[in-house]
């Protein structure tokens, strides 16, 4: 990093409000040529809002953007960020898996390609040169689906780098934004990626590296900026900064929230899970006692969010036993119907697709699990029951016959919760139960979960919202790369302790 030169990118006073809440509050960021700049912060810190302003997805309320000393008008029109030398690699990489490496490489490169004729041979030659230049072992004719995860990431990054180099209006190397490119990569492959990043910066490209993983940030960045609650907490010189200082900047001082659960007397477990394995989780065991809310959390890609779907039979487990109410169930052969028969219910994260059928009425949505295989439905009775359910779960609706799509997100979720809790379950499984829901509805959902506990039910709640766990979880398991890394209980369940434990999980792993 060269000192004293013109910054490659400069953000001043960037502010963005969503419905009264400040997602970004006068944020500043300076990116020097040849620098890898880390961007850190937990969920809701404003990181992704900042990235989305740069990509043109959000129009900021206020703020200035300068690239190589030139003022850039905000908002940037969507799809025009490349002309300013900005390119993005998001976590999903944006590759078409069925297509070849070459097809992916040139996809969307409208400005360079002629619209009426593609010279495939010349393009392949150009791709080979590009890969050689970056020391990448990629062949133009390979199918992306056959590549290893790290090669896919490299392809996405080299594509972005190529784009900024080609379309730079005034010739200088541009800015790459890497938005969480590493969580699904094995450790040794992450090193390859870092080497590639270094080769890019050696040519003057500047990189914004967004990550949850502090160790990766410590390893690859020159400087890093920490965001919390929309504010820039500070920009740190990585080489002279302690890891603990970064963690503290991310987590902040604990703002206490009202914890709504009190310690439970020791009791025999209501639910026992042994050796559960799925796509990410591997051989985990856990237990929940009657009346307990067990929180599951971790950083992105750690696998905590898989557990509810596996136990509900919604996603196929590869191994695992589930003991509940004196019965032992084989999780890999579990179907949703079996889970329901065992009085296990599952409230999925994807409400619009898996929670409700938006076109169908509230009655139809709420009564589906109750009607079984009946040959004569008493419609009046079903409507009446739905009316009662709507009242009991305070779903704001004008009629039990209106389409579920007409409800707000919070009311939809209350309906889903009511639909399942009316079965009087022994085990309630939740995946991000309050995503996109307003504060009032959140509290009502917490009330219902606490009622389940009071009746002796067991609750497992997977969430990335630490504050939610502090409010309602008796106990929290922190996941790391498919395994349970640590456990917090009782008074130790605080937002900052959970965050500390999450980041510590990564540290322990790196030390192995």
């Amino acid at each position: 990093m060269t000192q004293g030169s013109v910054p490659r990118l400069e953000i001043r006073g960037l502010t963005k409000t969503f419905g009264g809440a400040r997602a970004l509050d006068r944020a500043d960021l300076t990116l020097m040529p040849g620098e890898v700049h880390g961007l850190l912060g937990s969920n809701g810190s404003g990181k992704s809002t900042l990235i989305k302003v740069l990509s043109g997805f959000h129009a900021p309320d206020e703020g200035e953007l300068r690239i190589d000393g030139r003022d850039i008008a905000l908002p940037i029109p969507l799809g025009r960020s490349e002309t300013h030398g900005l390119a993005f690699v998001h976590q999903n990489l944006g590759l078409l898996h069925d297509a070849t490496v070459l097809e992916n490489l040139i996809a969307g490169d409208h400005e360079r390609l002629r619209p009426w004729w593609i010279d495939w041979r010349a393009e392949a030659e150009r791709a080979r040169k590009l890969f050689a230049e970056h020391h990448l072992d990629l062949a133009p004719d390979d199918i992306v689906a056959d590549l290893s995860p790290v090669k896919r990431a490299q392809l996405a990054i080299v594509r972005a780098a190529d784009r900024v180099r080609e379309h730079r209006e005034h010739g200088a190397p541009g800015v790459l934004v890497l938005d969480e490119p590493t969580p699904f990569l094995p450790q040794e492959d992450v090193r390859d990626l870092f080497a590639m990043m270094r080769r890019l910066t050696a040519n003057g490209v500047a990189i914004i590296f967004v990550s949850h993983d502090i160790d990766e940030v410590m390893e690859v960045t020159d400087r890093c900026t920490v965001l919390r609650d929309g504010h820039v907490i500070g920009t740190f010189d990585t080489a002279v900064t302690e890891r603990s200082a970064l963690v503290e900047a991310i987590v902040g001082r604990a703002v206490s929230v009202d914890r709504r659960v009190s310690p439970l007397p020791a009791a025999a477990p209501a639910v026992e899970v042994r050796d559960l394995s799925g796509e990410i989780v591997e051989g985990i065991s856990l237990s929940v006692q009657p009346g307990e809310i067990l929180g599951l959390t971790g950083l992105i890609g750690s696998g905590y969010d898989e557990v509810p779907a596996l136990l509900a039979g919604a996603q196929r487990a590869t191994a695992g036993q589930l003991k509940l109410g004196g019965r032992s169930l084989d999780v890999p052969t579990l179907d949703p119907a079996d889970a329901m028969a065992a009085r296990i219910v599952f409230i999925p994260a994807d409400r619009q697709r898996a929670g409700i059928a938006p076109d169908l009425s509230l009655t139809e949505n709420a009564m589906l699990p109750l009607i079984g295989g009946r040959l004569a439905l008493n419609k009046r009775r079903l409507r009446k029951d739905t009316g009662e359910l709507i009242r009991r779960y305070s779903v704001k609706a004008s009629s039990s016959e209106q389409a579920a799509s007409e409800l707000s997100g919070g009311n939809q979720q209350k309906l889903v919760l009511g639909k399942w809790l009316q079965l009087r379950p022994q085990l309630v499984l939740l995946d991000e139960p309050t995503q996109g829901i307003d504060v009032g509805a959140r509290q009502e959902i917490y009330d219902r979960l606490l009622e389940v506990c009071a009746d002796g039910g067991a609750v497992i709640c997977a969430t990335s919202e630490f504050e939610q766990l502090e409010i309602i979880a008796h106990r929290v398991l922190i996941f790391d790369r498919g395994r349970i890394q640590s456990e917090l209980k009782g008074q130790d369940v605080t937002k900052s302790a959970i965050a500390q434990a999450c980041y510590k999980a990564v540290e322990t792993h790196a030390a192995e």
């Binding site: 509900a312 919604a314 179907d335 949703p336 119907a337 329901m340 599952f346 999925p348 994807d350 697709r353 898996a354 929670g355 409700i356 059928a357 938006p358 076109d359 169908l360 009425s361 139809e364 949505n365 009564m367 589906l368 699990p369 009607i371 079984g372 295989g373 009946r374 040959l375 004569a376 439905l377 419609k379 009629s399 016959e401 209106q402 389409a403 799509s405 007409e406």
Partner: protein, 320 residues
Amino acid sequence: MRQSSLTYQLERFGLVVVWLAFIALFGVLRPDTFLTWSNFSTIFGSEAVLVIVTLGIIIPLTAGDFDLSIAQTLTLVSMATALLDARLDVPLWLVLPIGLGIGALVGVVNGAITIYFRVHSLIVTLGVGTFLHGITLFIGNSQTISGVSPALMEWVIIQRYFGIPVAFYYAIGLAAVIWYMMGYTAFGQQLLFTGRGREVGRLSGVSVGRVRLTAFVMSGVLGALAGILYTGTTGSANPSSGTYLLLPAFAAAFLGATCIRPGRFNPWGSVIAVYFLVTGINGLSVLGFRTFVQDLFYGGALVLAVMVSQLVSGRKERAL
């Protein structure tokens, strides 16, 4: 849903109103030929086959699948019935279950390929339908088979109540059964969730694959029934009989989904849509328009029906 509001009632019965307006218009223009009971009873009786085909396709359509093979199932079963009855002298009590069995088998094949190989039903049933047509041409030697026993015709077209052939009452009876099944049984709800919220249904314990398979078997059996009635109606089987029923059936299914229970494929809407379409064509031909008017009318109605249903759902989204 504003059950009581005027606009909703207008939406529900809009097609009926337009139908009556058509009848009034043609009746004023050609009172002697169009507005006669014999003209109407002929329409009601002869188009019962189309009603049953339409009722057949709305079952898989509700579950989110297309059955394009139904018209060729009809042709094949029609041909098989004529051959067994007229050429091989198989007794009718045996011919009918064989015919329906063929329909069920086609449904199993359609469903199995669609579900277990995860191929879109549009493609599967397009191919299966063409294959069935090949079988029809083969077994019938590409010829029209006539000489069907009068007993079959007796119980399809000759028997009349209030002047209308009995086939019409079969169709109405089936519509009532399907209306009950769709609205008042758990299977009807499962069918609906399979089409409109498949993942929600799956997580609620609905065996989505089995529901889709059952829907295909039902449409196959109804296609076969329509084939038997076709043979009974005309007293013969010809190898192209079903080909001209597929598009009208889809037009009626989508048009029917704009009325009675707007936004859903529903049996009474389908019945009304079929008779609306054939009334229109009958009236235009009485006015002296030639056969090209059929294609204009059916094709136009199909496209118009899907446009209307998109408008209706679009309006709901904007109202949010």
